[in-house]
Amino acid sequence: MSDFIGRRPIWSLLILIAIALLAFLIFAVWTPWMELTFGRKRVFLSALFNGITLGGLYFLVASGFTLIFGLMRNVNLAHGSLYLFGGYVGYSIGNLTGSWFAALIAAFVIVALAGMLMQVLLFRWMEGQDLRQTLVTIGLSIIVADLLLWSYGGDTFQVTTPDWLSGPIELPFVVALRSNGEAVMMMYPLVRIAILIGAIILGIAMWLVLNRTRIGMLVRAGVDDRDMLSATGVRVQLVFIMVFAFGAGLAGLAGVVGGTFQSLQPGEDTKILLSSLVVVIVGGMGSIPGAAMGALIVGLAEQFGSVYMPTYAVMLTFVIMVVVLAIRPQGLAAVRR
Amino acid sequence: MSAVPSLERLNTASSGNALELRGVSRLFGALAALSDVTLSVRPGERRAVLGSNGAGKTTLFNCVTGDFSPSSGVIRFFGEDVTTFPPHERIRRGLRRTYQISSLFAGLTVVDNVYLACRGVSRNRFSLRRPRRDDTLQHAAESLVDAVHLTAVKDRLVGELAYGQQRQLEIALALSGAPRFILFDEPAAGLSPTERQDLVQILTSLPAHIGYIIIEHDMDVALRVVESVTMMHNGRIFKEGRPGEIESDPEVQELYLGGGHG
């Protein structure tokens, strides 16, 4: 940390100022002048929180995507289909058992199995053939999309939020002052907070596994240099299958999460795939911290965009992507090689 | 060629050298593949760079051609600072190299490979028009093929050539256009004794104004085609001299000749 401040004094200063400004915006009672420039504080704060929680969802999807790409050079364009598949599975299981947790776990396990099958039956036979693998995932995404449409129809579904997670909670941020001077506090859906915390815990856990365990070392070594991985004598295929299963499972899990605070319908697979693409392009391919950074940026851009410039909200994320590509083609967090 | 070139590095004016490296280092993580290499080669000079595997010879080449950029230091080519130039800009200034592992276009014929190389350093690289039969570059390509003794197989696909012939073709590619300085990366590796004779003959009959650096493990080849030698070890230069001096140097004998040939 101090190392960074020493190397990049100006950047550190800018970051500190930005953090301080953000803290001020969050905690201060807004003056009329500020309300005039930024709109209501409630709107600002909910855009901020929605952006962060949306970033949490994107992280769940994109981290699996980026891990699979980093290790196997497989651009899994069926990743969005895995997401939607997981969402539908979670919906069905949730209806069957009435348990949200059961839905979450079932979606993870079933989609992970599906991912495992994809790796075992298809991709391991075309190792090193990037283009062919990608084409196969395109074919799969078309097939899965139509199969899901066949069995679930074109209706919109939502996974039911469990009782203990439903409803808003009060956050310690003052939104406005009543005329009698009483502070109005920010209310925010508990389930979103829970999901965000879940995503953060998962992210830290993934980081720890990747950096502190033997299997994580192997995966990281494989991301850096695949030949080396096979030279160490580990069973590369086993590592590949596990990583593919885990990445796919995460997408399935994210499907349930997304189905809880957004909705499930045909076309959602493409949308989530595009978001993951942008996330990993911005963050840098193959990097988990990059996925986190990209997810946060894209989530915030989408939410703030839709509040402050509704016409071009979606464009904003792509503009960010183009700028990143032009300045740092390898992505924000990727190491220049 | 009679005068033995002086090997003092620093007193030669920078503009007078074909190639000049000053304090060039290249790090891979914590590993220094090159550290503080300072080297100058006069126009037309022919030099061997010797050293055990991992001594930094190929990294040196990669820094000179621009495949890697050095972590620090300056590289001048005929007086011009090319340290930050991309490879193709250096090539267009007359630098050439061959690769240790054959790096040719296997799907094209011999003459087409050379034709492509001639195109690369000519104008009209982007030409959308097909060449005429009497195209000058086509002629240039054919005569280069002849110069490396490959006329008999000029219309064969490169993928079908024998290994030694591919090595010879590598040299033809390096001779395309108007080379002023060439880097040969182990041109004799994998060649039979007769092919080595052929190689020596090709190298010694190059026009006198073309200088080169050759990395070579075969001392019989290396010392017959150069007038000066640079010894490298662990990414550093530790000795420079004429072939005879190097061969008889006890330190060199122990470090390199002893290990490599013992």
Binding site: V136, V319 | I91, R130, S176
Partner: protein, 362 residues
């Protein structure tokens, strides 16, 4: 980056030959197809002429521009459909359409060249953005750029007229011919497609095309021969964009309308599917792929109903067909055709040999 698994095109530079030599070199299959296409208006009804053949040729041209980049340059760009859609939009914006408050009503001979020029610039810039990254990464970036364009057209009303786009875009009438009517439109498309095909074949053997194939096989080596690999790839994007832009103009004249869906993620991916199904190794592949695709789209409903399946499942059919091709014939339908032909030839040769050898025995 190993990108070269479908057997990629290898064209050697040939010294320039006279037209007669070129003509003499073509096989009989070429002449049969050419003659058939020329006399097609006598054989086929308007539906087949326009809805099937002309449409397939337009899609084939877009896929051809993708094939040029992928087959010769090793660059799998999904941006080609977007370039075509952009050109289509520009024709509607500069020319005439039913959306009179936006369309500028320029005559076609200014609107079309400007549209093609701007679309080419767009394709080149998109290429310049994605070219610095390598291999499979290109697919993702071009897909993302394509969807950015899709959302732009969807959300912008002042220029692109948002969700509804432009309708009433009519082909022009000049030289006393209404190019929108069936037979002239067929010949117009045929002419453009044939020209695009010929140009791609020609350029693939010109120094530029040759160098492009060099950058595909060994970019580092090409740089060491003095080629600016990045500049070559960007130039290839520009060349491919011209073809896609022409196709886009034809597309808007064919559909008489253009909307965000024209350049949506579906069509963008469809172009890749068309090119791959046809085969990335030769310029004829995209046209074959496009024909198959159009036939499937048009008739799969009936076909599926006929075999007692729900007609709505044609996406499933396309997906499965695509998967089968990718898994079993990486060089597409062309690859299957070539293998069949080789086998036929071989069997005929062995037959002939047996006849010769076995001629004496009973």
């Amino acid at each position: 980056m190993a990108l070269a698994e479908p057997r990629l095109a290898i064209a050697t530079p040939r010294p320039r030959e006279g037209l007669s030599e070129v003509i003499a070199r073509q096989g009989t299959a070429f002449w049969i197809v050419a003659a058939l296409l020329l006399v097609m208006p006598l054989l086929a009804n308007p539906f087949w002429l326009v809805q099937i053949l002309a449409y397939a040729m337009i899609l084939g041209m877009i896929a051809l521009s993708l094939m040029f980049l992928a087959g010769y340059g090793g660059i799998v760009s999904l941006i080609q459909m977007t370039v075509a859609a952009f050109a289509a939009y520009l024709v509607a914006i500069f020319g005439d359409s039913a959306i009179t408050q936006i369309s500028l009503k320029w005559p076609w001979w200014t609107a079309v060249p400007v549209a093609i020029l701007l679309a080419t610039v767009f394709g080149t810039l998109g290429g310049a953005l994605s070219v610095r990254t390598e291999g499979i990464y290109t697919i993702m970036i071009t897909l993302a750029i394509g969807s950015a364009f899709y959302y732009l057209t969807l959300q912008n009303y002042t220029i692109f007229n948002g969700f509804s786009g432009f309708n009433g875009v009519l082909p022009p009438a000049f030289l006393g011919i209404d190019w929108g009517s069936t037979v002239p439109f067929y010949y117009l498309t045929l002419g453009c497609a044939a020209l695009a095909y010929a140009v791609v074949v020609y350029v693939s053997r010109a120094p530029f095309g040759l160098a492009l194939q060099g950058t595909r096989d060994n970019p580092r080596r090409m740089a060491a021969l003095g080629f600016d690999v990045v500049a070559h790839r960007i130039a290839a994007y520009a060349f491919a964009a011209v073809i896609a832009a022409f196709a886009g103009v034809l597309l808007v004249w064919y559909q008489r309308q253009v909307s965000p869906g024209t350049g949506g993620v579906g069509p963008v991916v469809d172009m890749l599917i068309i090119a791959v199904v046809g085969g990335l190794s030769r310029p004829i592949g995209p046209f074959i792929g496009a024909l198959v695709y159009v036939l499937l789209r048009t008739f799969s409903l009936d076909l599926l109903d006929w075999v007692g399946f729900e007609g709505k499942r044609y996406q499933l059919l396309i997906g499965l067909g695509f998967l089968v091709i990718v898994l079993f014939s990486p060089d597409g339908l062309i690859g299957i055709w070539q293998r069949l032909r080789d086998r036929y030839r071989k069997s005929r040769e062995t037959q002939a040999a047996q006849m010769r050898v076995g001629g004496g025995s009973p």
